[in-house]
């Protein structure tokens, strides 16, 4: 299997006033194409820092991060944004939709940042909203949608530019159990049917067990990697 993301000897340190906090210490891991991976660990374990680096939202203090074999630590901020926009789709706990744009416009937005033609972007966005079962909610503003619907719009947005990787950060954290299960099911289907690599970041071990591979983080280091059969 082809690796999509590789971390080699990654360190991340934060300066907090006088003290230095080592959020990640010598993390080396590999995520392969089409895998469903969970990153889990208690709060303060460095899980979020790892997610930011895996998602190319942040660069490590030292070490290399290879995305599709290319070292992203050498990219400029704009190049990083461009790469991130093209390769990675985000699903957040807080949904993080733009409140002043309707569902359709939110889904179109990542394509617009990639300068996709409007007609193509519109067609694609319609299909995606259809896929997540929201074809009747396209012109609704986020404030007019329920939590589950919001997260489905967010998933549609994450798929908008057809990225290789979907990074889901506690995607069910703000949802009730039933809706949460539906979202997890949707992610699983995307993994299975569309061959997308899904990276699920969660503190909930139970939820993490739904993934094929579980990376457990503790004190900024990879504690162990479990593979579900």
């Amino acid at each position: 299997m082809k690796p999509v993301i590789e971390l080699k000897k990654v360190y991340k340190t934060y300066e907090m006033g006088e003290t230095t906090v080592e959020a990640l210490k010598n993390v080396t891991l590999q995520i392969n194409q089409g895998e469903f991976v969970a990153i889990t660990g208690p709060s303060g374990s460095g899980k979020s820092t790892l997610m930011n680096i895996v998602g190319c939202l942040d660069t490590p203090t030292s070490g290399t991060v290879l995305l599709d074999g290319k070292d992203i630590t050498k990219l400029s901020e704009s190049q990083l944004a461009q790469t991130r926009g093209k390769k990675i789709g985000f699903v957040f706990q807080q949904f993080n939709l733009i409140p002043t744009l309707n569902a359709m416009q939110n889904v179109m937005l990542p394509q617009e940042f990639q300068d996709t033609d409007s007609a193509i972007a519109g067609k694609k966005s319609k299909q995606l909203l259809d896929l997540v079962g929201l074809s009747d909610r396209m012109t609704h503003l986020p404030s007019q949608l329920s939590g589950g619907q919001l997260q489905r719009v967010a998933i549609a947005r994450a798929l908008s530019v057809d990225p290789d990787i979907i990074l889901a950060d506690e995607p069910t954290g703000n949802l009730d159990t039933k809706t949460g299960q539906f979202i997890m099911q949707t992610l699983k289907e995307i993994n299975k049917n569309n061959g997308k690599t899904i990276i699920l970041v969660t503190h909930d071990l139970h939820l993490a067990r739904m993934a094929k591979k579980i990376i457990m983080i503790k004190d900024g280091q990879v504690e162990k990697i479990e593979v579900n059969k």
Binding site: N52, G55, L57, D58, E77, S78, A81, Q82, R84, G85, K86, G89, F90, F92, N96, L97, I98, P99, T100, L101, L109, P110, E112, F113, Q114, D115, R157, V161
Partner: protein, 423 residues
Amino acid sequence: MKIAKSFKLALNILVHSKLRSWLTILGIVIGVAAIVAIVSIGEGLKQNVQSRLQGMGADQITISPGGGRAQGGFRGPGGPEDDHGGGSGVTSEDTKNLTKIDLQVLRSVPNVAAVQGIISGRGEAYYLAQTATLSVQGVDPTAYNEMTSAELESGRFLGPSDYNAIVVGYSIASRTFKQPLALNRIITIEGKPFKIVGILKESGSMGGDDNRIIMPIDAARDTLPDMDPNRLDTIIIKAATADDVDQVTLDADTKLMMSRHKTNSTKDYSIRSAKEAQARMASISSTLTLFLGAIAAVSLLVGAIGITNTMFTSVLEKTKEIGIMKAIGAKNRDILMIFMLNAALVGAVGGLLGIALGTLTSKLLPLIGLRLMGGGPGGMTTAVTPQLVILAFAVAVGIGIIAGAIPAYRASKLKPVDALRYE
């Protein structure tokens, strides 16, 4: 990201902006409106003055008795004047009238098309059992007809053979007497009968003859009280072309000084061209416009600071959204563009509303009777010129962009991780 998309997002931010943003826009609206209204007063004043001065004719030079060099105040042609200013040290006692000799002297100045002497005075007029004291001007009919810019409402101008004939100004004809004056009526002036041969159109201009009776100079000399047979109150020179005015003014001045045995410092008459007066008035009204505009600009500056302030708050408020946009692929340039366009839009909307409000105010100002500024017939006029509108709009947009630059730059530099964490 394409500029059209950035513009759409910027517009989206504006449309969904809170009351606070609209209050900011109001700051720009008021600033722009103030500038438009104030500058329109200045423009109106300028146009007013120019149209009134046009009555004098650009190719004419007026010589009046009384000291004072070019730095004296502006005076219209006609009417006896004494000028205590001008630094010449000449007082009214020293003032000597212009005479027929001066007229002869001036006729010999090169590039002069015509010269006419005018006497002015006031005479008691009697018409249908009503008396009124009116301003009377005695003119040389041939020269007058060549020089005047007045137009006839009815009748004709004076001819060389006229004696007991007068042309009356519009105001006198229509307003002075209970019964309006009509052609061929006889009116008695200082006991002598005169026939009205012409009535002038309303000129409304400073050099116009609205409130004047014009009669042949010989008749005026015989009729008006205290008339010296040689005295002239005003001499008007018409230059061959408007381009000759400056040279003719200079030559006439030199010749007149020689014949009157005066020097620049003892000069007892003043000579000025309409052109010069126009230039001076234009410069005065420009200065006034600039001064008033500067006051209005202060309010615009306050508006600009308001925009900056609101933009900073807006960026702070939208930190999370900026983080989201960056996470899903927005480059720094995209964010910068969106916020700059937003600021420009705030300026543009403020500018448009301000221009509308300013134009409205400028139309209303003359109605609420700020008559003192314009003076004269018609009171104050204001003018909103296309240049003013374009300038005001450009300034508003420019201010928006300048005011929004720093907040937009800050927004573009936000780190996606930090911005996403922002609550």
